[in-house]
Every structure is written in structure tokens, then in C-alpha cells.
């Protein structure tokens, strides 16, 4: 029976003031400002001016943008799903390996992500190019006569996305599986469950927090990573992130770019809301 002391707690909470103020200013105010901007009209140069309008949102409700939105969501969905399919078994096996092997695995998994994301994507660009190793291998094996067009396709973007996002699935699932009480699995086996049904009825539900966190962590960023489709995608791969990027830097339409961001923010909010509803916690999202 232990309870925290009162009294001294109040002054201690004040230590969180810098963090709260910083977040209020640079996250809270700036996001509110963007929401505000989205309701203005485009001004001269890189500015916004009255009158207030919902016109920016009206523009978004056009086939061009809706198609882009759909494409982004579809890509994010497949990215999250493929990350789960590839990452879950990996995390599961990693958690079941010997401690020494586990440390090595972890290191091998993390190190590539300490190098720049752009460079890793660049590696895929080499691999998938017409004269690159993949095509060379295919031709050498006689599987194809002429080089396949692998680069600058939606498939290439998906490969790049999954590649960029997979640690964000592996890490939360791993930390979940690692902390799991294996006697529960043994108990379910003891009660007559087959290995598969023990996995489905015990392991999966018990690692659900990790799976949920992994899905959110791979889904959300996939919508916004414009540089990936920039480098690997074709000219018709226009993801939401590219739209924002283009409006901002090419068309220099600040209010409209703001409106596009607000839509993305709302989507994100929805996903996080669903995640919370399903019992997810913020802490599960960092390791």
C-alpha cells in the first residue's frame, strides 16, 4: 500500500511548464494558424488575405484531389498491411531467439535506419533501374528478354514505403512479444489448443497493443512522405504529400496547401481516435 506524497507535487508539476509552453506555441498555435489560413483566400506572393471562404475545401472536393486522396489511403493501407505481414513474424521470431542473437538482430534492424532515409531509397532506385541489378539478374536467368520497367511505378513506391516503415512495425510488436508471459501459451496448449489456435487465441490478442501501434505508426506517415513518391514513383503517382508539397512550393498557394494539410490532419486525428478507442496508448508508440 503506497501512495505518492501530496504537497511537494505541485511545485514539481511546474517543471513541465517549459514543455507545455513550447508545445502550445510551436505545435498548438502553429496548427491553429494553419487551420485559420485554410479559410483565407490566396494573396499576392506567398500570403493569405481576406475574405474568409470555404472555397479551398470546395476545391479539394474535386476528382483530381479525391483520386489522390484515395490513392494515398490505398497505398498507406497496403503499406501497413504488408508491414504487418512481413514484420510480425520477424518480430515474433526475434523475441523468441536467444538473448545474444536478439541483441544482434536488433542492431542489424536499427542500423540501416541510422543512415539517411533518402540514401536508402536511392539504393532501391539503383536496384530497380532498367540497367540495375534486379533486371540484370532476371535477364541473366533468362526470365525476361528486355528489362522490365520497375522504377517509377506504384509498385516501386510501395516497396520503398514498406522498406521505410517496417521497423515501426517490428519494434512495437517485438517489445510486446518479448514481455509476453509464455506460460499462457503453454496453458492454452495444455487445455487442448493446437499450436495455431494457441497462437490465434492467446498470442495474437496478447500482442494486439503492439500490432495496433505498429499499424498506426506505419499507416499515418505513409500518407505524408512526399519524397518517396518523388524519387520512386511515376509521373501519375500523386500522393497527398506531393499535393501539399506542390501547392506550397510550386503554386505557392499557401491557403490551399493549408487546407490540404488540414484534411490530412483530420484523417490523422481519425486514425488516432480509432487507435485510442481500440485501447492503444501513446507510450506504445515509442521504444
Amino acid at each position: 500500500m503506497r501512495r505518492p506524497r501530496e504537497g511537494s507535487g505541485r511545485r514539481r508539476e511546474l517543471m513541465a511548464l517549459p514543455m507545455s509552453l513550447y508545445a502550445a506555441l510551436f505545435v498548438g498555435v502553429s496548427l491553429l494558424y494553419v487551420i485559420g489560413l485554410s479559410l483565407f483566400t490566396r494573396g499576392d506572393g506567398f500570403a493569405a488575405q481576406p475574405p474568409l471562404t470555404m472555397g479551398n475545401y470546395g476545391r479539394i472536393a474535386s476528382p483530381l484531389y479525391l483520386r489522390s486522396l484515395l490513392q494515398s489511403l490505398r497505398l498507406a493501407f497496403w503499406t501497413a498491411l504488408l508491414c504487418l505481414g512481413i514484420g510480425y513474424p520477424f518480430a515474433y521470431f526475434m523475441a523468441k531467439s536467444r538473448p545474444r542473437a536478439r541483441t544482434w538482430m536488433m542492431m542489424l534492424l536499427i542500423v540501416p535506419f541510422w543512415t539517411n532515409a533518402l540514401i536508402r531509397i536511392y539504393g532501391w532506385k539503383i536496384l530497380l533501374s532498367a540497367s540495375g541489378p534486379v533486371n540484370a539478374a532476371l535477364q541473366f536467368l533468362g526470365l525476361v528478354q528486355r528489362p522490365l520497367k520497375l522504377l517509377y511505378t506504384d509498385g516501386a513506391v510501395l516497396v520503398g514505403m514498406v522498406y521505410a516503415m517496417i521497423p515501426f512495425m517490428v519494434l512495437p510488436v517485438y517489445s510486446n512479444v518479448e514481455r509476453m508471459d509464455w506460460s499462457m501459451v503453454e496453458a492454452s496448449r495444455d487445455l487442448g489448443a493446437s499450436p495455431l489456435s494457441a497462437f490465434l487465441t492467446v498470442t495474437v490478442p496478447m500482442t494486439l497493443p503492439g500490432i495496433l501501434a505498429g499499424l498506426v505508426l506505419t499507416f499515418i506517415p505513409s500518407i505524408g512522405l512526399f519524397f518517396l513518391s518523388d524519387l520512386l514513383g511515376g509521373s501519375n503517382t500523386m500522393l497527398w504529400g506531393n499535393m501539399v508539397h506542390n501547392e506550397l512550393l510550386k503554386s505557392r498557394d499557401l491557403p490551399f496547401a493549408a487546407a490540404l494539410s488540414v484534411v490530412l490532419l483530420a484523417l490523422t486525428g481519425l486514425v488516432i481516435l480509432l487507435y485510442r478507442r481500440a485501447g492503444g496508448k501513446t507510450e506504445n508508440m515509442v521504444f
Binding site: 505545435v27 541483441t103 539504393g123 539503383i126 532498367a130
Partner: protein, 281 residues
């Protein structure tokens, strides 16, 4: 617990191979003698020419690296202070009585949630928000705006790691220190902070990696004089396929391996220390 089967090991090896394939290709091509600045990816012979290019000051990689390091240094330092203080302040809070106290407490909770947002929303949203904010308050784009932006997304990493560590500490440790005559400030300095150091270090390493790697946010808030390494790489890769990027990647990879090995050393040290800690009830 059953050991992994042969199939499991094979699967893991395959995934790791796929993970490293693009990197290996990049390293391999960094030694490629192919002189072409075109999108020609054929290996033609061994050469160190791209490394020479890379270290040529005119190429601008040195300047970009130093920008990135300065940026990461200040961002991590500031977020370490802000995040650690935040974690100490908000660990093990107590329900408040009274209207004003409760209002203050919920304001702090709101602040905590806001502070975590940068790592939960797509980077591009924060990027455009900060860009708009900075141009609205007429803050010139450059190192200052970069640091302010990076602190925003570095704080959550440090906050969450430190808070996680503090939450596992036996509350009796701080009480014991008070009981033995330490003022609240001394308790922080002699007990809480030293015990949080391993978590602060690993949070800082994480934040450092994130800052060094960040492209999206830097892309929108950088100034003409502050091209960071990721920005430099992007512009090089975007224009053509300059082979010295391969050399750069290999150098960064080597550095990353070194840093991670270092990090492992630190965290295994902290692990050992943690294992020695008495089990708290």
C-alpha cells in the same frame, strides 16, 4: 519456450537480406569506376574517385554535414532539458482538489498531449504549420527556425523514454531521500536525475538520429545558408544520379554502425546497472 525452427531463422535471414540489399548496392557502387553521370548502373571496375569527390570542399558535403551536426547538437540539447523536466514534472501525478488546481492540471495534460503530437502526425503537417508560423512572425529562415522545429519533434522521444524509466522507479527512493533530510531540489539532483541518466542518454541518441535524418521538416523551414545533409542528398539525387552519393552513403553507414555500437555499449552498461537495482514492489 520453444526455440525457433530452421524455417524461422531462414525467414529472418531473408528479411534482413532484403533490408540490407539496397544498402549493399549503394556501398558496392560507391567503388564503381563508371564515370557516367547518367542513370547507368553497371559496375565497371574499382575506384575511389567518388570518395575524393565527396571530400572535395567544393562539393559542399562538408558544409552540409556541419550544418546537420550543429542543428542536431542544439536540438538535442534543448529537447533534453525540456523533455527531461517535463517527464520529471508529469510522472506520478496526483488527483487534485479545488477548481484552480484541477484547471492547472488539465492544462498541463493538454500540454503533454500537444507535445506528443509531432511524432504522431505526418511530418508534412508540422512542416507546413511551422513554416507558416515562422513567416507570419517574420522570423528569418535559417538555423534558428531549424532548431526550433527540430526541438518540437525531438522532445517527445526524450520525454517518453525518460518518463518510462521514471515510472518504473520505486517511489520510495525519493521518499527515502526526503526522509534522510534532502530538500525536494536535492532529491532531484542526487536521486531522480542520476537514475534517469541512462534513459536521458538513450532518448538523446534517438532524438539525435531523428534530427540527423529529418528531411521533410527541414525542407520547409531551412534557409539559404543552412543546407543540411539530408537536404543536400535530396537535391543531388533529385537532379541526377551522382555516384558520389554512394560514397556518402557508405561513409554514413560506417558512422551509423559506429554510433550504434557505442549506443549498445552505453545501454548495456545501463542495463547492467539496472539489473543491479533492487526490485521495487
Amino acid at each position: 519456450m520453444k526455440k525457433n525452427s530452421r524455417w524461422a531463422s531462414l525467414y529472418m535471414a531473408l528479411v534482413l537480406l532484403l533490408l540490407y540489399l539496397p544498402i549493399l548496392v549503394v556501398v558496392l557502387f560507391s567503388f564503381n569506376a563508371n564515370p557516367g553521370r547518367t542513370a547507368n548502373f553497371q559496375f565497371e571496375g574499382f575506384s575511389l574517385q567518388w570518395y575524393e569527390d565527396l571530400f572535395d570542399p567544393a562539393a559542399g558535403y562538408g558544409a552540409a554535414l556541419s550544418s546537420s551536426l550543429v542543428l542536431a547538437f542544439w536540438s538535442v540539447l534543448l529537447s533534453a532539458v525540456i523533455g527531461t523536466l517535463g517527464a520529471i514534472g508529469l510522472t506520478r501525478r496526483r488527483a487534485r482538489k479545488g477548481l484552480l488546481a484541477r484547471a492547472g492540471a488539465s492544462a498541463l495534460s493538454a500540454g503533454e498531449h500537444l507535445a506528443m503530437l509531432p511524432i504522431m502526425i505526418p511530418e508534412i503537417i508540422l512542416a507546413i504549420a511551422l513554416m507558416a508560423l515562422f513567416s507570419a512572425i517574420r522570423l528569418p529562415f535559417g538555423m534558428v527556425t531549424l532548431v526550433l522545429s527540430h526541438v518540437a519533434f525531438c522532445v517527445p522521444y526524450i520525454y517518453i523514454t525518460v518518463k518510462g524509466r521514471l515510472a518504473t522507479l520505486d517511489p520510495a527512493l525519493e521518499e527515502a531521500a526526503r526522509d534522510l533530510g534532502a530538500s525536494p531540489a536535492k532529491v532531484l539532483w542526487t536521486v531522480t536525475l542520476p537514475l534517469a541518466v541512462p534513459a536521458i542518454v538513450s532518448g538523446c541518441l534517438l532524438a539525435f538520429a531523428m534530427s540527423m535524418d529529418d528531411f521533410v521538416i527541414s525542407f520547409f523551414v531551412n534557409g539559404p545558408q543552412t543546407t543540411t545533409l539530408p537536404l543536400k542528398v535530396y537535391s543531388s539525387v533529385k537532379v541526377g544520379v551522382p555516384p558520389h552519393v554512394n560514397a556518402l552513403c557508405s561513409v554514413m553507414l560506417a558512422a551509423a554502425f559506429l554510433l550504434v555500437a557505442l549506443g549498445q555499449l552505453v545501454s548495456s552498461g545501463s542495463l547492467r546497472r539496472r539489473r543491479r537495482a533492487p526490485v521495487s514492489g
